[in-house]
Symmetry: C2
Subunit: 153 residues, 2 copies
Amino acid sequence: MPERTERLAEHPVAIASDHAGYGLKSDLIRLFSGRVAWLDLGTHSDESVDYPDYGYAVGRAIVEGRASRGVVICGSGVGISIAANRFPGVRAALCVDSTTARLARLHNDANVLALGARIVGIAVATDCLEVFLATEFEGGRHKRRVEKLRVTS
Amino acid sequence: MPERTERLAEHPVAIASDHAGYGLKSDLIRLFSGRVAWLDLGTHSDESVDYPDYGYAVGRAIVEGRASRGVVICGSGVGISIAANRFPGVRAALCVDSTTARLARLHNDANVLALGARIVGIAVATDCLEVFLATEFEGGRHKRRVEKLRVTS
């Protein structure tokens, strides 16, 4: 994306995938390089791995403050989004469209974008990531709800 | 669905939504009545409520064994799926297509279907629920991964 030069994220964005998401992860890292400081937590090949390990890696990076936002990718996006959401400080949004990505930022202050590499193609994934990184949380009545996501009751 | 009479779920299916999902929840309860024993955990009107409360209600019903599966609905499906996934025994899949619903059952043994009432219409939601309830977990290599979703490490 040489025509877009503005910085999309001030802090590192953690990214991880299983083998099914490895290709899409590589493409997104390349397409957003220069605009995003990536923290690539693997996997680093097509060799079969377990998606929870990679969802947890991004979750830990978020809660430990090593990254402000994250991207997680598996085949459908379901498994790795479940893993990331095990952390009370993570709000992972599985998106197959940029409308959901926008609403997830506006209303849920989502800090992790989850994608399914066997569900969406690169154009949709790019749109989702662009909107996810550029949209600010709306606050207001949504703040109370987001706070409730920190304490399971 | 008078033409379909087979039972889709042996045990109660918990269902809950916020105000944005109230209409879709009512429609799904009606359309699947007779085939599904619903445990309706609210909300019961269009009055504004907080989605985490309803995601937690379904999560608790699953982990306490009052329901074998669940359905959660909010505007985008994102917020309430995050809430449900706070429980290590819950695997909530946000779906906007029946392919994802099928993969979520086959590979993730998803026990909660999350829907966005402002993202999908009744036909898509019906297809997702039909597939979610009718598809069995594939097991095999997916079993180890699902077990890892029980213990965040």
